[in-house]
Point group: C2
Chain length 427, copies 2
């Protein structure tokens, strides 16, 4: 395969013409495909259907301690659900608060309360002249949407294959008191699928923030979401922060959204005792308690860490061929031609294609006009601005394999077209 950057202008023009023919053929099919949504597929959802059977009408819906899960109460969630989530989160039940169906909502609430009431007795953020968050990029658009919603200024931090650029993180956090938080997806990061290195995690635990109310928003959304058998592990940041004498510095989040049902799972936070008391004190104004019947349902279905791992193996069996296929197409058609790059993820829900600078928007538009919806270019960046117009998030989970293959083929045509166009600009 000839690399595009080694082609003459003549060759590029020929290639362009050939690609445009291919593109038109695909376009004529009038397809409607989607690689934008990090949603599990129907096949994956079926894995959890037996969860609907674990509650029988005359069964006792009581927690182990006798709590009637049907009634009001238990603000922090039932013990066995906290225990299950602790196993998923590599921590202990006493550190865990168990919530409703959306960990995003829990993160939003943490920031909303920090704005109006402050964190652990510190000044409410809305009373400060400026509040800033560090945002490793590319990252998760819904994280950035929350901070933008509250007028928090976002600062890009480049990702490396080891995690965020920690030199930069340490510098910002220690020097600027208005830096109040950082968004992290430490394992199988969204969208690159990068696993933070142990050194990165330990550097996080040992940050010396200028702000007393600086918090690491550690969204461990994919903690058990392996695609292969290598199962990379990272240290538990809650424990590492304790060891480093910074027990209150981290909020760790997780959910079963991509273990059972995305719309109907349970979510959790693991925090220090100090944070826990302060959070529950505010939460009791907001609600009488979470849906404990659904917590119990999850415990009865997933049982424990082993049950979760078994379930995740079944998910992986469905997801792996999809990731493999997408990577194969990217390698064969794009990487071999010297077009762009990507990190090959070992778990999670996404991969990120780094297209040649200045072509991401064009590729997404071309794909759209050929019936393939991608996540918007720029979405993985604060304010939707990718400074290099390069990163495209690919979400292989939702479409059936055949549709995904069709979508991937169209994607590579679009990426090549955009690459050729770009090269011709200066050829």
């Amino acid at each position: 395969m000839k690399r595009y950057d080694e082609m003459t202008k003549e060759e590029l023009l020929q290639e362009k013409e050939a690609l445009e023919r291919e593109y038109k053929d695909k376009q004529a099919k009038g397809l409607k495909l989607n690689m934008a949504r990090g949603k599990p597929s129907e096949e994956q959802l079926n894995l959890s259907l037996p969860m609907m059977d674990v509650m029988y009408s005359m069964a006792k819906l009581s927690a182990d301690d006798g709590t009637d899960c049907r009634n009001y109460g238990e603000l922090e969630g039932i013990y066995e659900a906290r225990k299950l989530m602790a196993e998923i989160m590599d921590t202990t039940p006493d550190r865990v608060i168990c919530f409703g169906n959306s960990s995003l909502n829990v993160m939003y609430d943490m920031i909303a309360r920090a704005m109006t009431h402050g964190i652990c007795g510190n000044t409410p953020w809305c009373k400060l002249d400026e509040v800033k968050f560090l945002c490793p990029v590319p990252g998760y658009d819904r994280h950035f949407a929350i901070t933008e919603f509250f007028g928090i200024k976002m600062i890009n931090i480049p990702m490396t294959p080891m995690g965020p650029d920690m030199d930069l993180v340490e510098k910002y956090v220690s020097e600027d008191e208005s830096i109040k938080g950082i968004w992290c997806v430490p394992k199988f990061s969204n969208p690159e699928g990068i696993v933070y290195s142990t050194e990165t995690v330990l550097r996080f635990a040992n940050l010396k923030p200028a702000a007393k109310d600086f918090r690491i928003f550690w969204d461990n959304a994919y903690s058990v979401h392996y695609l292969y058998d290598d199962k990379p592990q990272i240290p538990d940041l809650v424990r590492e922060c304790e060891r480093a004498g910074n027990p209150d510095m981290v909020y760790k989040f997780a959910s079963t959204s991509k273990i059972t049902f995305p719309g109907s799972g349970i979510s959790a936070m693991a925090v220090s005792e100090n944070n826990r008391k302060s959070i529950l004190e505010m939460m009791k104004i907001q609600t009488i308690g979470p849906d404990k019947v659904n917590q119990l349902r999850h415990v009865r279905f997933l049982k424990n860490r082993e049950g979760v791992e078994e379930q995740m193996r079944r998910h992986a069996a469905i997801l792996r061929p999809k990731f493999d296929m997408v990577e194969k197409v990217l390698n064969k058609e794009l990487i071999s031609r010297g077009i762009g790059s990507f990190f090959s993820p070992r778990g999670g829900y996404f991969l990120a294609f780094n297209a040649p600078e200045g072509t991401a928007k064009r590729i997404v538009t071309l794909a759209k006009e050929c019936g393939v919806t991608m996540t918007g270019a720029g979405a993985p960046f604060p304010y939707g601005i990718d400074p290099k117009d390069s990163v495209i998030r690919i979400a292989p989970s939702f479409p059936p394999l055949e549709e995904l293959e069709e979508a991937a083929k169209i994607f590579q045509i679009c990426a090549r077209m955009a690459a050729v166009e770009k090269l011709l600009e200066t050829a």
Copy 2:
């Protein structure tokens, strides 16, 4: 039965002695009874156990429009759940947003967002010098806790048997731009069980608020929660506000908390189109969507308005004897002696005993020391302050009938003791 206010000092002293003997006998039993919690009883919860059976593992968990309820999405809730809640709320599905398990959480969120972002483009409340809410009293302590949490100044509005004192409400709302809201439980009010009259509801619809972002927080928590067959009706405030040219002035709330399972129900809001758009615009930052599987479960179990009414008749059959018994004890032992007063509710979950001024705290303390937990005196008032120290909320729902009877007997002894003590102060 001789009225206490007609007794001589001598007779009061004799009565005091007799009551103290009775009290000590009861105290010796070492009881642990509770009339504080507005929780349904186990018997009531069993009514909804078949709801656990309506989802079978291989059943389709799809909404009528084909939405897979297990996956992400549907911010405003599935259509059939919005339709069910519309039937409960006397409105139409297009006006309804359907949420998770806690309507209290929805109310909290409405106020939290008003604080940080303002309502429909108006100044965020946190930027204003002062924000005030009108609070009909006695009222629901958790409402007042939310407004207190956000530093909103609360102004007491006396309740009448027709609802809040509307002369006062109209005056405040039309004259003071810092009045941004009012808490209302319009049907079977918490704790008195009063149903707002049609005139009261229409006067609400025709308010002329000084503040553009004034909202009526219309918590219709007990809209179908009848105890008897008379089933009092009130006009739908959402429609009446539309008719009066004030479509955006009301947020109407409801939930299935006391229809199915308090911890695991679904909640809803009915609002104008303008409010609806603005709320969804903000909500999309906060969450990807509510638990749609639980919404579907409720639709399959309750079906429609008739199904709900049938369910509520079964609840009433369990609750009615409890209310009847408590009222009988109050009438026989207290009202007949000229001690206090109460409004006899036709639905809802509470009744309020108006003890002689200056005795409520004493009664609750006496009851506590005799093993009966009552809602704290003062709880139904902003800041926990009952200016007359008179109102005691009684919650008959949770204890089994025999326990409740024992508790009611102890309560009347305590109320009589406090009344005698008070009279002896000036005798």
